[in-house]
């Protein structure tokens, strides 16, 4: 444990590391053209430790002396395609194109989030401003695609399932764009692996795995952002890989081109979705590592380090940022018309997107001015009051924030009682007097004449000791009290109107209103009032209030004694691009963090790694689109990451103990190649654990791509020591299995037809919840026949029990175990399902009806209730259904005659009350039908009440 030992060993490791780092500088060792064979033939090439750092020295010299290095033919070979490779890649690409573009127009319906992104494309075409949580690039690409192919922006993609065919939306062309980008991932993967020094087989394997990954296929065939994000992620990594290959020739033209292209595409990824930040992290970690080795390497001069550092700052920070800002610039210059996004933004912002009504107002504010006050920090609206009262606390008039402009937003600045008394003596009560900083004022609501008031009572929603209610108090007949007095504290002004710092000026003065008695500040925190407050935003008075949320400003002012037209005016400053950029980001972040609701298909990150459950995108009779991965790829990708971590841990442990394993000479490559993708995977996966917002399986897809490449590279490296035959066999076996599973799950990927049996059989995890019931099946008939046979054999009691098992179902649906296993997944009830359930229910019911038919007149309740028209309609509907089923009944009746008699005997015995219950049961059944059938959603009065009349009235429920 001596420090010398530690140091020397660490130094050794350091040399090793710098060797790893410069592995690609060697180039020659890992160049796939010749060296692959060389490596296979001479595995001991990298084995010896000692020569390694002598070699390192040589490399150092070559990096140190640029010219010498350039002259050196072995240092760093450029990445080039051989003819053979081009042909192979071309063939793979063509095949992938077939699989990716097949039936692209197939669901001619709006699917899943096409609702949003289709709509956004339309909004771009219409140029109306909207707010979305994603950056603009991907959406603008859809808009461009739509525009090119003739989408006019009129169709609004309102709900999932709308039909495209009746509209003239070029949806297939719009889908072609992400599909093509998804397709481009195949060559990108190929080149990436090649550039990292993977073998020819590994390149092929990787690109084929990407081709036959069901989730990539499904997600790229729809108008969704993820395919675009993955494309830019892949492209960035590809250029980064090519850049790393150029490390031997820094600051050459190619080096710069690849560096800048990496940065540009990183910017594009970031401008498609913020998940692109993780990509920035991945590249960033690698860059920092690289720079750290340069900085700590005593052979690299400071000047050189500096050059490298600034080159990377330029390429990997400045360039992406520029790209990102550029797309926002386009975004803002396209969206110039007022739209749904306006209300989220500040008035300054709104002036640039068609909010011309905000342009100017009277500059000076005096006692007696009629003003509209805006809450500055939240854009939640104007100080508002109306003639309704709180239902809690003081029960006085409500004061709220209201986001729309109406007459109830106007307040009149008034003197306090004390001031009035003072001024009454002198005659200057009518003199125009500006509001100075520190003045005590009252605010009188223009319509209801109530004063803005606060007192030591708790607010309606935010129930805290330090928060007081704010209400309207007083009025024309009553002067109010000292709790109506507010102190004006100007916090900020604008330099263009210097007086705005010490006297209230419209728009420019930002002020707080401090309650004189309670010393609390008028405050709002975007909390909604309940229904009785019309769901407007709560306004409270907070002691020691936080700074920004207690700031207000006057948006418009008039005064009855001043001619509005001649008075000096002020207007909102028109914000520059960067102000808009920053403001929209603040709002986007807030909205993004607010996405905490739960979606039916949302999931937590932990369940992604083992593909617990997919996402139901769309479903129709006999067709489903369900996002699910190719399980073998999915699981093996994770295994390759885990094995990488495990192997590294073992190696590090053994290093610490003083051994020096080199993994047959592949340790450096394993670290640099698989390691990079392992870090990429981790960077794209773990941050999701910190996110509170709702997450979906498709958030994992970028990480999955890193995993797939890590898988290909791991297989490549682990099989280098085995014979090429065995290597081929291993890769082929994997590919074979991948293909098998790809085709197995392709029906839910493409939304093509399937059979129920195949569907049931295909589920590898019971938690995969694509519904198999919707697919046609012959099993149903078979099940029914066997059921009938069994029924004949069984005796009475057994039949009763058998009826409990739903007869039409091949599987018992109310089996609790089944339920628990299937619990979380929940397919939406689609039409097919609904009908199935209905018919099952119908059959079930009919058997019952037959049993009790002779005992009671049917449908009497419905007729006897004159109020209920719906019931009659339902009865008709019921009759029609009954007719259809009578045929079936007749068949069954013969078999059941004997049983029926027995049942009738039994059912004659029960008392009259039970008959009533029977009636009720029928009604229940009808209701249930109603619930099932969406068309019959209209309200309906209960018949049960009639029955319930003679029973004692229920106790009043406790509040």
């Amino acid at each position: 444990m001596s420090s010398e030992k530690v140091r020397s060993r660490k130094q050794q490791r350091y040399y090793m590391n710098s060797e790893f780092n410069s592995a690609s500088q060697h180039g020659s060792d890992y160049d796939f053209n010749e060296n692959e064979k060389y490596n296979l033939a001479n595995p001991s090439n990298d084995l010896d430790y000692v020569p390694a750092y002598q070699k390192d020295h040589a490399v150092f010299q070559s990096t140190h002396l640029n010219q010498a290095k350039l002259a050196d033919p072995t240092s760093g070979k450029r990445f080039r395609f051989t003819k053979k490779r081009l042909i192979v890649l071309g063939l793979v690409f063509l095949m992938a194109a077939y699989f990716r573009l097949w039936k692209l127009s197939h669901p001619s319906k709006v699917v899943f989030d096409e609702v949003h992104f289709g709509k956004h494309a339309g909004l771009y075409i219409n140029r109306t401003f909207f707010l979305d949580v994603h950056p603009p690039l991907a959406k603008m690409m859809f808009a461009a695609a739509g525009k090119i192919f003739g989408y006019d922006g009129k169709f609004d993609f309102k709900t999932i399932g709308l039909d495209y065919t009746s509209t003239n939306v070029p949806y297939a062309s719009m889908r072609f764009m992400p599909a093509f980008l998804g397709l481009a991932m195949v060559p990108i993967t190929y080149i990436t692996i090649a550039a990292f020094g993977g073998s020819e087989e590994a390149c092929l394997l990787g690109s084929l795995l990407v081709t036959f990954e069901n989730s990539f296929m499904t997600i790229s065939r729809l108008i969704l952002l993820d395919s675009i994000l993955i494309f830019f992620t892949g492209l960035t990594v590809m250029f980064w890989a090519l850049f790393l290959r150029e490390e031997g020739h820094p600051f050459t033209k190619t080096w710069w081109v690849y560096l800048i292209l990496t940065g540009v595409n990183m910017g594009n990824a970031l401008s498609s979705k913020w998940v692109g930040l993780f990509l920035v992290g991945t590249i960033g970690v690698w860059t920092i590592k690289d720079l750290w080795f340069r900085i700590t390497d005593y052979r690299v001069t400071l000047n050189e380090v500096n050059k490298h550092f600034w080159a990377r700052v330029l390429g990997l920070i400045v360039t992406p940022l520029t790209v990102y800002v550029f797309w926002f610039y386009i975004h803002f210059s396209v969206l110039t018309l007022s739209g749904s996004g306006n209300n989220f933004m500040s008035p300054e912002f709104q002036t640039t997107v068609g909010g011309s009504h905000l342009v100017s107002t009277m500059r000076d504010v005096y006692y007696g001015s009629k003003i509209r006050i805006r809450h500055d920090a939240t854009n939640a609206g104007y100080l508002h009051s109306h003639a309704s009262r709180y239902e809690t606390g003081s029960k006085q008039q409500q004061v709220t924030l209201y986001s729309h402009r109406d007459d109830n937003n106007y307040w009149i600045i008034d003197y306090t009682l004390d001031q009035k008394k003072k001024l009454a003596n002198s005659t200057n009560l009518n003199e125009l007097k500006p509001i100075k900083n520190g003045d005590v004022i009252r605010l009188k609501h223009a319509n209801t004449k109530k004063n803005l008031h606060s007192h030591n009572l708790r607010a309606p929603v935010t129930n805290k000791d330090y928060i007081n209610e704010v209400s309207g108090y007083g009025g024309d007949d009553f002067d109010g009290d000292s709790n109506d007095d507010w102190i004006v504290r100007i916090m900020d002004g604008d330099n263009s109107v210097p007086s705005s710092f010490n006297q209230i000026v419209s728009i420019h003065s930002k002020f707080r209103l401090i309650h004189k008695n309670e010393k609390c500040a008028l405050f709002s925190n975007r909390v909604k009032l309940p229904k009785w407050g019309f769901e407007q935003v709560e306004v409270v008075c907070m002691k020691h209030a936080k700074y920004p949320k207690s700031i207000w400003r006057i948006e418009s002012a008039t005064h009855e004694k001043i001619n509005y037209d001649t008075a000096p005016k002020v207007s909102f400053k028109i914000p520059g691009f960067f102000e808009k950029f920053i403001e929209s980001h603040v709002v986007m972040l807030r909205v993004n963090n607010g996405l905490t609701g739960s979606h039916f298909y949302d999931s937590r990150p932990f369940s992604w790694i083992y593909l617990r459950r997919g996402i139901g995108y769309w479903s129709e009779k006999g067709h489903t689109i369900y996002l699910i991965g190719n399980p073998i790829i999915w699981w093996l990708a994770f295994v390759s990451i885990v094995s990488f971590v495990a192997i590294q841990l073992v190696l590090v442990l053994r290093d610490q103990r003083g051994y020096n394993d080199q993994m047959f000479g592949y340790r450096a490559q394993y670290m640099n190649f698989t390691g990079f993708f392992g870090i990429g995977w981790a960077m794209h996966y773990f941050p999701f654990f910190l996110m509170g917002r709702q997450l979906f399986l498709h958030h994992y897809l970028p990480a999955l791509w890193f995993g797939i490449v890590a898988l290909a590279s791991s297989i490549d490296i682990f099989t280098r020591k085995v014979s090429s035959k065995a290597r081929t066999v291993i890769m082929c076996a994997l590919l074979f299995y991948t293909l098998r599973l790809y085709f197995l799950y392709s029906p839910v990927g493409y939304g093509t037809s399937w059979t129920r049996e195949a569907c049931e059989k295909s589920k590898m995890l019971s938690s995969w919840d694509f519904s198999c019931k919707q697919y046609p099946s012959i099993a149903e008939k078979l099940a029914k026949q066997t059921f009938d046979k069994d029924q004949g054999k069984k005796d009475n009691e057994k039949i009763q029990e058998a009826e409990i098992v739903d007869p039409g179902q091949p599987q018992p649906i109310d089996n609790i175990d089944e339920e628990i296993r299937l619990n979380q997944p929940a397919p939406m009830i689609n039409d097919e399902d609904k009908k199935k359930l209905e018919s099952d229910w119908e059959k079930f019911k009919n058997e019952d009806v037959k049993g009790s038919a002779s005992l009671q007149p049917e449908k009497k309740d419905g007729e006897s209730n004159p109020e209920n028209k719906n019931d009659k309609q339902d009865d008709k509907a019921g009759e029609i259904q009954n007719k259809e089923e009578k045929k079936e009944e007749q068949k069954q009746e013969e078999q059941k005659k004997e049983e029926q008699k027995k049942e009738e005997q039994k059912q004659e015995e029960p008392k009259k009350e039970e008959k009533k219950e029977e009636e009720q049961k029928k009604e229940e059944q009808k209701e249930n039908q109603q619930v099932i059938d969406k068309k019959a959603e209209e309200p309906k009065v209960e018949n049960e009440n009639q029955v319930a009349k003679d029973k004692p009235a229920p106790a009043e429920p406790k509040p």
Binding site: M1, R7, Y466, K546, I816, A955
Partner: protein, 715 residues
């Protein structure tokens, strides 16, 4: 050779166990380097011998290893006395309930009355307050209802409880002295360290009141100090002092975590340090696997098992003391509530037959019972049928009768079984909700013990508690829906009450099983986690972590005539500490690069102990960024203490490095810094102790714009 090796192992010093390598001087390393190169292979033997020679030379020169002696004990006592004086000056002064004394005073009272209560902090610190109160005559009658209540008028003996907090707070100062000494610095540095801690106004404010943080910081400091001392004896494993300091670390860690959960960061700190130390031992080939495992398990015992045991014991005491309950706590399960004395237990018949009247309760939440009443749904989209809700209290409207489904008949008594199709008929209104029961157990339904789901036959959906509050027309009760494929947790029910008025029904009376002590502890802790996460508010003095290191704002505790208590740190200490953490990190980074480039040190800054303290600071500070709940300035105090230690050690280290004429420089540096700190301490004296002060003084205190000390209280 082997002898020499052993020497090498046992002679390891404070400075080289650690993460930062103790650099060789240039010449030596170069010789090794050149030898390696020239040799071209790793000749381990040669190298080892070289190292040993080098070691022997170095061993003589190392003095940084600290052995605590009599002088230190004397200093310890002296500092303690001084520190207690600083903390306890006018301790009875605001004879009113201040800030969170509302809570912790009340809890002490409840411990004395032995009535159950729930709090989101673990019990140890509160139990200590109770004990202190008991010993000094607090009787538990006063209930600390609101801030500002006068103690004297109510005849409350509150000083004892404040004294506990103050004395433990005061003891942090001598611990700091020992820590600085154990880190390898001299007595002067130690005294300076204890002075810094002693005169930190924020800590003083905190420890003069009945608040938990002072106790938590006391335990944190002693745990960290013990670990630092322990690192001085790692070379003599399994000796008495080795065991003593290791167990002391674990013991105080356990106490800290039983006082406040924030001490989890301390666990992370000690954990990481231990793992690192264990990692370093792997390297030493003289430590056999057996030795290694012994050390490993000894540390696991002291640092995992012991704290856990203390944590559990504190809860055992908690539940032993609190055995009565006044009102059932609706946040906890029935089982939990009836395990206390004074709770009404619900008894019921065991078996459920067709025709039984039952009250159905939602199992995994405490929302209440399935309920219906004679009011209809009123939403436009709704069916306008009778409402079914969940209602928290048992009443007549929660009773349902189980009847068979329409197509089955029942003769005589028949148990309700798993898979049966049943209907629940509302007893008082006679309405029916059609459902099929699917109890979980394969057997027949039993009250209380059988947990089941109700699956709708037609729609295949399960009765589900959506936990949403219904609007006013439904009396704001909880919503019940039928959800397809929902999670079992929210759709599991059990029958709490059965009434069989049929003939021949067997009546075996059962009630909820009482929870075991362990069950109670588990449920209590679960609730603590939930409550902690729910603490999202908008308190005016809540603050986010980025505001802490440079003391953006204080917290107003109390205001009286001519005086206020406003928790604000000693700005000099606070800022110097934060700056020194940054300076240390930057210096280490720069030095590392410099060393790599030139093989010489720029500054002699690498010190494992300071590095460890910085890690401690970061672990106590950074995790707060991930915590979404409402945070306050006092959450920073543990981190602050670590940063103060970094500050003191860094100063000592630099002073040792810089000067040849050590005494003069030391004197100059320490006295300047001390004067600065003392000046700042006296500036903020009034708002720390709540003594009277003038407006002029008040305005002078506002060194930063955001410090909103309420000057309207000043004279």
């Amino acid at each position: 050779m082997s002898k020499a090796k052993i020497e090498l192992v046992t002679g390891s010093t404070v400075s080289d166990i650690s993460g930062l390598r103790n650099r060789l001087n240039t010449k030596e390393s170069k010789t090794i380097h050149s030898e390696d190169e020239s040799d071209g292979s790793n000749n381990a033997q040669e190298k080892d011998s070289l190292l040993i020679q080098k070691k022997k030379i170095e061993k003589k020169s190392i003095t940084s290893k600290t052995k605590l002696n009599k002088n230190d004990a004397l200093m310890f006592i002296a500092i303690t006395i001084f520190s207690i004086f600083v903390r306890c000056y006018k301790i009875s002064h605001p004879n009113q309930v201040v800030f969170d004394e509302v809570h912790f005073g009340k809890f002490a009272g409840q411990y004395m009355n032995r009535t159950y209560f729930f709090d989101l902090h673990p019990p140890l610190a509160k139990l200590m307050f109770t004990l202190a109160g008991k010993l000094t005559g607090y009787d538990g009658i006063f209930d600390f209802k609101s801030i500002g209540l006068n103690y004297d008028e109510n005849n409350v003996h509150y000083v004892g409880m404040r004294m506990l907090s103050a004395i433990l707070g005061a003891l942090v100062a001598p611990a700091s002295y020992i820590l600085v000494r154990a880190s390898g610095f001299g007595i002067v540095a130690g005294i300076f360290g204890s002075l810094v801690v002693c005169l930190e106004n924020g800590l003083i404010t905190q420890s003069r009141l009945i608040l938990l943080d002072s106790i938590m910081i006391f335990f944190t400091a002693y745990s960290a100090m013990s670990y630092m001392v322990f690192r001085n004896v790692t070379d003599k494993p399994f000796t008495f002092s080795w065991w003593f300091w290791l167990l002391s670390t674990g013991f105080h860690m356990g106490c800290a975590i039983s006082s406040k959960w924030i001490a989890l960061f301390l666990v992370a700190f000690i954990g990481i340090a231990t793992v690192y130390d264990l990692w370093e031992i792997i390297e030493d080939k003289d430590v056999s696997l057996q030795d290694y495992m012994n050390q490993f398990f000894a540390k696991a015992l002291a640092l995992i098992a012991l704290p856990l045991a203390i944590y559990i014991i504190s809860f055992i005491i908690h539940f032993q003391v609190l055995y009565k309950i006044k009102e059932p706590d609706s946040g906890f399960s029935k089982e939990f509530n009836i395990s206390f004395e004074g709770a009404e237990s619900t008894t019921t018949e065991k078996y459920i037959y067709y025709g039984s009247t039952v009250r159905v309760k939602h199992t995994n939440t405490n929302s209440g019972y399935l309920h219906s009443h004679k009011h209809n749904w009123q939403d436009e989209k709704s069916s306008k049928q009778q409402q079914v809700t969940i209602y928290g209290y048992p009443d007549g409207n929660n009773l349902f009768t189980i009847t068979p489904a329409y197509n089955t008949t029942v003769e005589g008594l028949k148990h309700v079984k798993n898979g049966d199709i049943v209907r629940l008929k509302h007893k008082s209104t006679g309405s029916i909700s059609g459902s099929s029961a699917s109890p979980d157990s394969k057997k027949q339904l039993e009250a209380i013990y059988t947990k089941f789901r109700l699956i709708h036959v037609g729609l295949n959906c399960a009765l589900y508690n959506s936990r949403q509050k219904l609007p006013k027309y439904a009396f704001e009760q909880t919503e019940v829906v039928c959800m397809r494929d929902c999670r079992p947790k929210m759709s599991t029910w059990h029958i709490e009450f059965v009434e069989n008025d049929m003939e021949g029904a067997k009546s075996q009376i059962i009630s909820y099983p009482k929870l075991t002590l362990w069950g109670k502890i588990m449920e209590y802790n679960k609730r603590m986690i939930e409550t902690n996460n729910e603490l999202i508010g908008d308190h005016p003095f809540a603050s986010r972590p980025q505001k802490w290191p440079f003391l953006a704002r204080g917290t107003a505790y109390w205001g009286g005539a001519g005086s206020v208590i406003y928790q604000l740190g000693n700005p000099a200490v606070w800022w110097l500490s934060s700056v020194s953490v940054i300076v240390f990190i930057v210096l280490v980074g720069v030095n590392h690069i410099y060393y790599k480039k030139t093989n010489t040190n720029l500054v002699e800054i690498d010190d494992a102990n300071i590095f460890l303290l910085v890690v401690g600071y970061l672990l106590h500070y950074l995790p707060f960024f991930l915590i979404g709940r409402e945070l306050f300035l006092h959450h920073y105090f543990a981190a602050l203490w670590f940063s103060m230690m970094v500050f003191v050690c860094l100063v000592a280290k630099l002073v040792n490095n810089v000067s040849k004429n050590k005494v003069m420089v030391q004197l100059a540096v320490y006295s300047t810094l001390s004067l600065l700190i003392i000046h700042s301490y006296f500036t903020y004296f009034p708002i720390t102790y709540g003594t009277q002060f003038t407006k002029k003084q008040c305005e002078k205190m506002k060194w930063r714009k955001n410090w909103d000390i309420d000057c309207s209280h000043a004279l």
